[in-house]
């Protein structure tokens, strides 16, 4: 079974890991180049700015930046589409499920081995790519203040592995439910993008209760103290910035060039600003939470796939007896038992009926019967 799973996955695995290897070559070379400049600059007095030559060096490889960032962004979804969605759906599409699920290997074991081989490979591939990307961007990331920004949080460290588990599970579940490869792939893409966006924009900020700092907009010396952000711990993520007026009511943009207070710069007097933020020290807890939540969702979907695949009628079966249909429990048992029966035991008429209804999508079957 393991051999079969590997044999069917071989081409995809070679393409995926071969591609990663190709990407790794320029990444390693230029990554060490950047690090060379970082260390050279640390000991040299002629370096302008903090790590400027290293930054310039990295800028020369804009294509690699785009490639690494873009690849890691789409990698989980692509793997879910191309490895997970066809996993079960293709068996249905080709009609080969009749062969594989009537062998001595139970459906549960079949699915377990498939998930173990293909699922592990997709998560591993995403993990490797994330490791490469995180390492390559290391020197420039260390200069960034905010590690939570949307453009980097999801394509560094462990979060992408959670996405990979989730995308794989969505692909699997879509394949089990829809039973057709292309719609399952499209569903995987759509669901993954939507869930990822919702987490990024709505849910992530609530992983931990944010902290708040409040202070007057206009400082004691009359200068505009919007610099309150400077007091935040390093690497903080400012979730929201609110303003309240002297009476404590929330207020929006004040004044404008025509307002009378603009003349004497008094528009902001009495206005308090509230910074709601997540401190930089929460970066790793947030990464693990993001990974954990997506993994959890993924495991739920995988569990659902197990439940569905063992408990449901398969296409091409004779209609279920009316009595059994009304009761859920016994019907499930009946369906499982009938499927376990060898194809030879079925009479020719029902077999012909099966093939008649399935022939457009079952070329393999057609050849054997011809």
């Amino acid at each position: 079974m393991t051999w079969l799973a590997w044999r069917q996955f071989r081409t995809q695995a070679i393409v995926i890991f071969g591609g990663l290897l190709l990407l790794a070559i320029p990444t390693v070379i230029t990554g060490f180049g950047t690090r060379h400049w970082v260390t050279a600059c640390a000991t040299s007095a002629t370096c302008l700015g903090n790590g400027a030559p290293a930054q310039q060096y990295m800028m020369r490889f804009g294509w690699l930046q785009v490639l690494l960032g873009g690849a890691l962004l789409v990698f989980p979804a692509v793997l879910g589409m191309f490895c997970a969605a066809p996993l079960v759906a293709r068996e249905f599409d080709n009609g080969t499920y009749r062969l594989v699920w009537t062998q001595s290997v139970s459906r549960v074991r079949w699915l377990t081995v498939k998930i173990a081989v293909v699922g592990t490979a997709t998560v591993l591939a995403t993990g490797l790519l994330s490791w490469m990307t995180t390492w390559w961007f290391g020197p420039s990331d260390s200069l960034e203040m905010d590690k939570f920004i949307d453009s980097t949080f999801g394509i560094r460290d462990v979060a992408p592995m959670g996405y990979a588990v989730f995308a794989f599970a969505v692909g699997l579940a879509a394949g089990v439910l829809i039973r057709k490869v292309i719609p399952a792939m499209a569903t995987t893409l759509g669901v993954f993008v939507v869930v990822r966006m919702v987490f990024q924009m709505v849910i992530r900020a609530h992983y931990a209760a944010p902290l708040t700092q409040s202070g007057p907009v206009v400082g004691p010396g009359g200068d505009v103290a919007v610099k309150i952000g400077n007091n935040l711990p390093p690497g903080s993520w400012v979730v929201t910035l609110r303003f309240t007026d002297a009476a404590g009511h929330p207020t929006g943009i004040i004044g404008g060039p025509d307002a009378p207070c603009s003349a004497d710069n008094s528009c902001l007097n009495g206005i308090t600003q509230h910074l709601v933020y997540q401190p930089g020290s929460r970066y790793w807890p947030f990464q693990w939470t993001e990974m954990g939540l997506f993994t959890l969702l993924g495991l739920l979907l995988i569990g659902f796939s197990y439940w569905w695949i063992t408990g449901h009628r398969l296409p091409g079966r004779a209609p279920r007896p009316a009595a059994a249909r009304s009761v859920a429990g016994p019907a499930t048992v009946v369906a499982t038992r009938t499927i376990g029966r060898a194809p030879e035991a079925r009479d020719d008429q029902s077999r012909a009926h099966d093939e008649g209804t399935l022939s457009p999508s079952a070329p393999g079957e057609a050849h054997t019967s011809a």
């Binding site: 393409v15 490869v181 966006m197 924009m201 060039p257 025509d258 008649g356 011809a370």
Partner: protein, 354 residues
């Protein structure tokens, strides 16, 4: 034939254009609010801030529109272009589709016209929505050529869509399997798009060269005011007073010239740029380039589909075989699977249908 094509495209078309309609509703509602702000502000300096704030209120919409315009061409190429022929092979239905009274050329022509037009239309619509939505914000941007916006505005995405569709079609015809064709479409499209963006686009027209002397004094920004606003600077090179190119300016705070701001005296800067008024020529060139490649690929598909043996047909009979009917003869005189081979398929087809 048109009806068959529409019938087979129906579900995908509903999903794609239904999704676009939902996107359009959200874009129109939020876009009108941004326009209200843009129309309401009197002074241009004020507008920058207000429009910026109004746009950033809808980060999700920004992300959605950017992402959609970026991926819709390749998604339609993968999901509409790649399975177009590959699925016929994979499910064996090509045997039925190509043994009807409709010739393969006509079959492909109708498919390409309807499905290809739908793909290009989808990208055109999403690009139109995106261009409109970002309009107020874009009008504040100086450089319209930046990679982040050039490929997801105006007409360029239509060219990408045609190209992605053609790549999918060709990959499907060559591989005859859906999944490898889809994967190939993705990879080829991304590679071609990146290559054009990073290497080819700047060569659409010879850049204008200009050399400036660094002015003494603080700052030393020489380009400002000398190069038209919104230009795309493709290369910059600094030369020292003796005319040698400088790889890296090495002045530290300890150098004596820093105090008098004279470090850059005698240095010149050589700049190559594309002026902003080449934006539309560049857009049309990008569109035309991708469209031309697409047309070549589609032409290749027509040639290939007619001139090659199909799987499951009998071995090709030597040249002495009787000529086929007119509509199945290819332009270059090469013959597709002989009629006898097709006829020998009939019993097998019937065996399948039973």
């Amino acid at each position: 034939m048109t009806w068959v094509t529409w019938r087979q495209l129906r579900t995908q078309a509903l999903v794609i254009f239904g999704g676009l309609a939902m996107l359009a509703v959200a874009a129109i509602i939020t876009g009108l609010q941004i326009r209200n702000v843009a129309n309401g502000c009197a002074a241009p300096t004020d507008c920058n801030l207000l429009v910026g704030i109004a746009t950033s209120n809808y980060v999700w919409m920004e992300l959605l529109l950017r992402g959609a315009t970026l991926v819709v061409p390749v998604v339609t190429g993968m999901f509409l272009g790649a399975p177009l022929i590959a699925r016929e092979f994979e499910t064996g239905t090509y045997r039925m589709a190509w043994t009807q009274s409709v010739s393969r050329t006509r079959w492909l022509a109708v498919k390409v016209l309807i499905v290809g037009a739908a793909s290009v239309l989808a990208s055109g619509l999403v690009s139109w929505i995106t261009t409109w939505w970002f309009g107020p914000d874009d009008s504040l941007q100086m450089d319209k050529f930046v990679d982040a916006t050039f490929g997801i505005r105006d007409v360029a995405p239509l060219g990408y869509a045609a190209f992605a569709f053609a790549v999918g079609l060709t990959a499907g015809l060559l591989f005859r399997r859906v999944l490898p064709a889809m994967a190939t479409t993705l990879v080829v499209f991304v590679a071609a798009r990146m290559m054009v963006q990073m290497l080819v686009r700047q060569r659409f027209a010879t850049p204008i060269s200009a050399t400036f002397a660094f002015k003494p004094g603080p700052g030393g920004s020489v380009k400002a005011g000398l190069i038209p606003d919104g230009s795309w600077i493709s290369s910059e090179q600094i030369f020292d007073p003796s005319g040698h190119p400088v790889r890296e300016l090495r002045f530290g705070p300890g150098d004596a010239c820093v105090a008098t701001n004279s470090c850059l005296n005698g240095y010149t800067q050589h700049v190559e740029y594309q002026p902003w008024n080449r934006y539309w020529p560049f857009q049309w060139t990008e569109f035309g380039l991708f469209l031309a490649i697409a047309l070549v690929l589609i032409g290749f598909c027509f040639w290939w589909i007619n001139g090659h043996r199909l799987p499951g047909s009998g071995p090709r009979v030597a040249r002495t075989a009787a000529p086929r009917s007119d509509d199945e003869r290819t332009a270059n005189g090469q013959q597709a699977a002989p009629r006898g081979a097709v006829e020998s398929n009939q019993p097998r087809l019937m065996g399948v249908d039973r």
